[in-house]
């Protein structure tokens, strides 16, 4: 099976992530069908190196509930938000991890850090990367 990829455009950066269909099939299916997804990105206030954006999705599958590592992408049920853990962190608990950044995590980190020290709301867009 060819692993699906998505393009993440954030600020001036382009990042690629792999969907973890083998570990979170229902979540990946829901998000893949809903793409493109976009919105203003926010920095988390408690978890150290995390940012997120709100979607219109209601994810209720609990799949691949693990502690996030740098580059992991999860989804929160109580805020309809997609979260990216962009650097070393102290996770607050397991999350539904459905994708992982495999190219240009450094670029994502640069944009994410600016959210905290600068203005929140940098646009992020997730789209299917096909072919």
């Amino acid at each position: 099976m060819i692993q699906k990829k998505m393009l993440i455009e954030v600020g001036q950066e382009k990042v690629v992530a792999l969907l973890l269909e083998d570990k979170a099939p229902e979540t990946c299916k829901m998000i893949w069908q809903a793409m493109p997804l976009e919105g203003p990105l926010m920095h988390a206030k408690i978890c150290r190196n995390e940012c997120f954006f709100i979607t219109r999705l209601f994810p209720f599958e609990r799949e691949n509930m693990i502690l996030p590592k740098p580059g992991d992408i999860g989804i929160f049920a109580w805020r309809q938000s997609i979260a990216v853990w962009y650097d070393e962190t102290e996770p607050l608990g397991p999350n539904n991890i459905w994708a992982k950044i495999v190219h240009n995590l450094g670029g994502f980190q640069q944009e994410a850090r600016k959210l905290w020290t600068g203005k929140q709301g940098t646009r992020i867009r997730l789209s299917r990367l096909e072919g």
């Binding site: 805020r79 905290w116 929140q120």
Partner: protein, 167 residues
């Protein structure tokens, strides 16, 4: 067939949510200009941010209980209406917000008309999405970094723990 009033409120919530999805609602600007204790702006605003965020967590709990247990629909509808009336009234009185309390009031009435758990959840989720997006707009206007630096100045050296900077 669902009740006409129920459908009307569900559509209203959806329309209102789409109105604020990409454009900051006037309600946030008004909230920024409203004052609370000692005519201060900040406590009012930060409390409103916290309260709207809390609401999204409460809706999550209600949703999970309804969809994941054998809870009686009548009981959960009563609880929900009570909570919506309580928080809606508080938000209206404390922060002088209008749109959100109005939508909570409408939802409180309409949710009583839900005949199945699915209808209940459909309506709750519309209000939930609206509230999540509204909270985003309120949150986005808070200068968290500057506030963090200011708060840090109030800490004594022994209270600072392992803080090593922002990145």
């Amino acid at each position: 067939m669902t009740d006409g009033k129920y459908e009307e409120i569900k559509k209203l919530l959806k329309d209102k949510r789409e109105e604020i999805w990409d454009v900051e609602p006037d309600e946030v600007g008004k909230l920024r200009r409203s004052t609370g204790t000692q005519h201060e702006y900040f406590p009012n605003y930060i409390y409103a941010e916290e309260e709207t965020r809390l609401l999204t967590n409460i809706y999550y709990c209600l949703d999970r209980v309804v969809m994941g247990s054998q809870v009686d629909l009548g009981t959960i509808k009563e609880l929900t209406s009570y909570a919506l009336d309580f928080f809606g009234g508080k938000i209206k009185r404390w922060y002088k917000m209008k749109e959100l309390p109005k939508l909570m009031e409408e939802t409180s009435s309409a949710i009583k008309l839900a005949r199945t758990k699915e209808e209940y959840v459909d309506l709750l989720r519309e209000l939930w999405l609206y509230t999540s997006r509204l909270n985003y707009w309120i949150d986005a206007r808070i200068p968290w970094y500057k506030l963090s630096r200011t708060y840090e100045l109030t800490l004594k050296d022994e209270e600072r723990g392992n803080f090593k900077g922002t990145t």
